[in-house]
Point group: D2
Chain length 364, copies 4
């Protein structure tokens, strides 16, 4: 017999994303007002679930946060209850702590869980579901690379930040006849580069899904110069790579002192282009600025809808589901649809075709 | 036999809207780059078509305008070639000037037309289509009340402006324990009020589709105050009306000296609420600020897609069609789908339900 | 002998203003870190002082608020401890509650007070000073009409909001050949209208200090139209008035049902201009949007400097002083310099001359 | 006898800066409206002067540009008429082309010049002045490091862009317990880092004028973590350096393949801090984004005032002067005051003291 739901827990996992607070707020308000539930906020993602760090969430706790970036619950990128890293005898070993989590839920009287997270977190959600925990997912990936939903929240905010940078680079590029490079997020999918490049009037967009030929890129820029356009704007996704090449990883790794790792693909492309074209080149690496800040209106509405729908899904028994935008509706879809697949940019995508029509080169 | 297309015209009709320039730019670039066409820009909407005010548009003319508000072509709200107002013997008479327009097109060598406009303009487009003019429409309404497309461009920009105002009112309302009223656009459809209200954390949303009861509104605000929330934010669409009441028209009419007409629904609701609740109330009337400014990233991408698709539609012979967003595609759909119907907010719409779930009252 | 300072109180009085939280944060951090003091936050301005509503403020309480609008302490416009409104036998009588406040301070162990407020609040601060209370003021007026300091905080934020509205009106005015009116704050001083008008490319600026002639305004707009500029932007301060005329008060007064009062000066000027020029005219009334929102960078820096300097002033015994910007320094100046005088726009001010040089009419 | 002024030239030199267009617009409008002059716009800075690339500027040319970034005239960083690089026999030689410039001015009938530029351009202006050319300077440096004026235009816009990035990093840092590094402009002066750091709630600010000790920086961050603040925000000026260390130059030099040069000081500090604290660290390099975009309201007003004052200075015979802000006035001051001196951050500056009071470490 299905247990009646009295108290639900909510956690945020993985990298942060504008709109998380709007989801949390909508979950709390809907649970309390529509269903008369209690809500428990779990701190720092799955770390808090394993370690029982949680506290009740009231309407007061979520007042005035719809427009705030970040997550009031905190989040971590690393912790997986099914494979939880513990130091033992000076060694890192991985243990399954999922039963421990379920015991904590039992003791806390948490009847169901809403897990807001990306591919990794939704996988964990699915594994809990398989063990019988009533769980509903809310998909979160700033990269918009989830095939199960039309759009993920946070994406519109990220491309807005990136486009705002492009707008600024435009004015200075025009005045100076320079090549301006903007490196944006996107290790495996180029959606951010593609959308912000189209919106920001870029001349070249380089994304992981369409390996580029450096000669093509340089030719495109030279051709522009010959037509009197003496500046060019290049948007590069982190994971962009040359035809036949590999990803240039920008990473801070303390134990590595390899200096090349300090400069990512943006710097690499910039140095190369300056060499090939003889034009002054400047590089901006936006980094985590793209994850921060107040969510756009689009993201606030979407996040609020997700939050309400997640509670509805719990109460209508859609366990093992996540909420998804299937325009114009938000619907519960099985978690299995979301896990393990990712939505890459198809080189024949209508938006790629659109970009090419307005003169943008993908270097291919 | 179908005439081959060498030169196309483009015009913008009706109220302006963020994204018009992005559409024009995409039309010009696609026509020239992809199809090697010439493009003629027609000034001030149908006025320019009737009066033959037009000039060639090159790629240079549309460089750097993707992010600019307004329309480089100009627009008017009033002129209809099929019912064109002319003064004759001191009297205003209406004449059919459509043949004149077609003769001008003939003389100018314009083989097809792209008409960017709202319900009125698309109607005119359809009438030209019926007379055999190769015409493609691009739907434009800031109110998002067009059923033939998932979203119209400009809408996201308008709700972003309205939400930004709500964010600002929030901080001052909180500090002062006041009722803050924001009057937004929407004479017949409440989409702007609904979206910005959800995104901006409003407490009350009043829209034309859901007539309100002033007592309900006041009760909601009083109930908030009793729970310690001493301020409330009310979003009112221009066309909102009381149950059984009529629209309060905010209009500047020189010939009318009726003072009440100077204050619209926002002021009316504000005065009433102050009287009923005894709380200080302040009113902001955003007006045309909502039509202006740089389009959001969402609108820039959508507008660019529409512009490219409109030229594709011309070249693929989709005359009498308009381009529409049917997520995730932009497709040509018959103009007849768009004309004469408008997409109102259904009181049972999922977003209305979402709004209620997070505690927003519609005064009903 | 001067008593040593162990604990200070801080309150915000009068209308709210972007930057208040930044001042509070700087006061708390400086008091705790630099001087090892305790800080007590007094709620809702002088109302909280009279009624003993206060609580300790720690560094945690002020973390992350430098960029937030409003005031975490709350504020009221009305309460004056020296003339405190009390209902007695159904009648409103005014009593001196200043001794009561001093007794509360004594009991709470509050050795000195920082009062952040406008002309009214600084007057109260001065009266407390005369009674021997160690008090330091921080000047706050969004209108920038305080002669004792070069700039007040909040002003830059207010003109930024107003200018942003002008930017948006510009694009829509251009497209439509209209007159756009923006009514901004400023009952007695026109600084907001003047600065935002210059920054926003206005064509006409109407301010209280320079009464206007409606014919001059209309002539200026007609002259523009004759030169091919078919739109005009008019910024009107709330308190602007015709030569020989009186202020048109925009006010929500429950007890008054006079409909004309619902429309302020913006609507009045708009109606008149439409009548005189025959051009379509649209009006935006920004209202309290100008007081809200995140403070600009300029205001955050200025507010932080004021907050630090206020504590320094307490600790250096500058009682009866307020902190003021005397570029490039923040200095304590006697409260008497600030009280009862206000900085109006001189019709010969360099910025008025600048505005005229770039073609702006003041209607005189 | 002083020649009467009929036609003036205007050029922009050096790196671009928000507000340049507002200055140009004010120059053109003032010259035409107030003094009935003609204005010639010189393209691409001194390059255009040497090579006679110029055209008349009308009011139409400068309409609607007050809010636009960049410069409609174009600019270069490199060309000096007194030491002009020319290729001769395959070798780069430097020639004095100043007489050539004067001949061009003579032939064009340009009676006086307004030169908008930084230290380098003002030096050139001064050299022309010494040769008898009637010249007035408008100071431009985004770094605000000019001692002759209270503030330079563009600075407020640059710190606004940098602070906006800090606001976004804040929300993501909080959610993740990370160190976030923001590298901002400032090779020789730390004003941008200092102002944006104070406004953006930074925890550490590293600037060229105050060499830092890496241990101090790490200690400050560890001390925060111990008090429960598990994230820290570090603002680093390009030219910041360790005590006893040298500047880490971020530069794109085609001929150099030294990989370390691809990563600037931000990356270097980030790698080191991650190593020392064991905390995850992320780096953003804003680069030229800081030079771009629409000027803030503050900068638009200041730029407009400079432009008007520059023409006034010409007409009042203040040759060899530049216009400067001496709050509250704009005044002409001798160019010699501006040349060769730069305003560095004094480690005892009131704003440094303010920053320290609110808990910011400079690593010293």
């Amino acid at each position: 017999m299905k247990k009646s739901i009295k108290r639900i827990g909510v956690l945020t996992g993985g990298g942060d994303c504008p709109g998380l607070n709007a989801v949390i707020r909508a979950v709390v308000k809907t649970a309390i007002r529509r269903y008369d539930l209690e809500v428990v906020g779990i701190s720092d993602g799955f770390y808090g679930l394993v370690n029982d760090i949680m506290k009740p969430l009231t309407e007061d706790d979520v007042a005035g946060i719809v427009h705030r970036g970040g997550t009031i619950l905190g989040t971590t990128n690393r912790d997986n209850p099914f494979r939880y890293a513990v130091e033992k005898d000076g060694q890192l070993v991985f243990e399954d702590r999922s039963e421990q989590c379920m015991a904590i839920m039992e003791r806390r009287g948490i009847d169901a869980l809403i897990m807001i997270g990306g591919d990794g977190s939704l996988n964990i959600a699915y594994n809990f579901h398989k063990k019988g925990v009533p769980v509903v997912g809310v998909p979160k990936t700033i990269d918009n690379d989830l095939s199960a939903t039309d759009v993920t929240f946070g994406f519109d905010s990220a491309i807005t930040t990136a486009t705002s940078a492009l707008d600024k680079l435009h004015t200075t590029a025009e005045s100076h006849h320079r090549i301006m490079i903007l490196e944006v997020m996107g290790r495996y999918a180029g959606w951010i580069a593609l959308h912000s490049g189209v919106a920001g009037g870029a001349d070249v967009i380089l994304i992981p899904e369409i390996p580029y030929d450096m000669d093509q890129v340089a030719n495109h820029i030279r051709a522009r110069a010959q037509k009197g356009r003496k500046f060019s704007i290049v948007v590069v996704a982190e994971g962009a790579k040359e035809i036949g090449g590999e990803m240039v990883v920008q990473k801070m790794v303390a134990q590595s002192h390899d200096p090349i790792r300090l400069g990512g693909i943006g710097n690499a492309v910039g140095a190369k282009l300056e060499e090939m074209t003889g034009m002054e080149t400047r590089v901006t690496v936006l980094g985590h600025v793209q994850r921060g800040g107040s969510p756009t209106v689009y993201d606030r509405v979407l996040s609020t809808r997700y939050g309400v729908a997640a509670v509805d899904a719990i109460m209508s028994g859609h366990y093992g589901h996540m909420v998804a935008l299937r325009t114009p509706f938000i619907l519960p879809v099985p978690l299995t649809e979301a896990i393990g697949t990712s939505k890459k940019v198809d080189p024949e995508d209508q938006l790629v075709r659109t970009a090419k029509a307005v003169g943008i080169s993908f270097g291919n």
